[in-house]
Symmetry: C2
Subunit: 208 residues, 2 copies
């Protein structure tokens, strides 16, 4: 498989969600035009993105909804049903623990960690918050694949170091710092200010 651009990979979850909605509506086949209309993405872009992964759909007919849904799920690795843990159960950690889209994508929320005595022991979305002292042991016992870091910035690097040592497969980082991790560790840095900045860009240029 050739090198796929980040922008293409970012669009796959959008395609997946639109296909699920189409399936819920009872559609068996969907055209790139209809998919594009629903997602505000050009049909050319959709056809180009999907062509990077193989041959999908039938010319003049469209994409078979169920087939394409399974293919994208497979490309994204979602059928691995990764076990995820969240470290830092403040507002953001709690919000993520309750985010239904993760579950519907096939991720399993298996552990939550905090270091605050008044948070440890609480239950969020059916999962009990553990003491972060149990991090390494729990990762091993529950076979946790992905660690989501939602601790304050000053604690984030230490948590990342511990996740790396415990041989986690990937890190999703919400702390506003760039972490130092080994080259072979996959880390996705989430920056919530990007969306707001982009909105600012667009409304600044809005014709009056």
């Amino acid at each position: 498989m050739k090198d796929i651009s980040k922008a293409t990979i970012d669009r796959l979850p959008l395609y997946l969600r639109a296909l699920r909605m189409a399936q819920d509506e009872g559609l068996d086949v969907i055209s790139s035009e209809e998919l594009g209309r629903r997602l505000e993405i050009t049909p050319e872009q959709i056809r180009k993105d999907l062509a990077s992964f193989g041959q999908f759909g039938k010319k003049g007919v469209g994409y078979y909804v169920n087939e394409l849904k399974h293919s994208i799920s497979n490309i994204l690795g979602l059928d691995n049903h990764w076990n995820i843990a969240i470290i830092g159960i403040g507002h953001l950690g709690s919000a993520l623990a309750n985010y239904h889209n993760f579950i519907s994508l096939g991720f399993n929320l298996v552990a939550l960690f905090d270091y605050e005595p008044n948070i440890i022991g609480k239950t969020v979305n059916h999962v009990k918050v553990k003491d972060v002292a149990l991090l390494e042991q729990t990762i091993k016992e529950l076979n946790i694949h992905i660690g989501i870091i939602t601790v304050p910035g000053q604690f984030a690097q230490e948590v990342a170091d511990r996740l790396v040592k415990a041989k986690i497969k990937g890190i999703w980082n919400f702390a506003p710092i760039r972490m130092k991790v080994p080259d072979d560790m996959h880390i996705v840095n989430e920056d919530l200010s990007i969306g707001l900045s982009c909105l600012s860009y667009h409304i600044t240029r809005k014709p009056h």
Copy 2:
């Protein structure tokens, strides 16, 4: 100004943050190589992105940190110091209300809204939660430019309709639905499952 790609605009806030950090470290000048190293973006990409907005930096010297910082801030429209309001003060709304990066980018958090009696009247990050019944009136009184929607999906369209009617400039939507808004309304849909799906994609392909 020619049409700028979404990917380029998405990178501007990253450049801005890196420039601020460089300035805090006392740097006056930074090369595209050093900026690229810090952000894991190629120097060519950085030079290309910035060239879409004009002539920055000096060949063989680099970018003047303070000057470029102000230019990007201006391009993103951050010097407008937009007034923002959050509608839906659950975990996600509370997390966003406490997100320091928004403030440091120049946004003013001026109002919070909810419909739950036990949330109305609470104070989050020095702002008191108002009854959502006061939405239109408050938007006018406090000159609110941007509405952030963090209500559950089934209430999101109604909130969006009210924001549109109240002549807000832009909407940042966290609800997992595609909203119907007029063509001239700027809306950025945030999807928190994209980051996790991308991580899944990468760890699936990780060599063992």
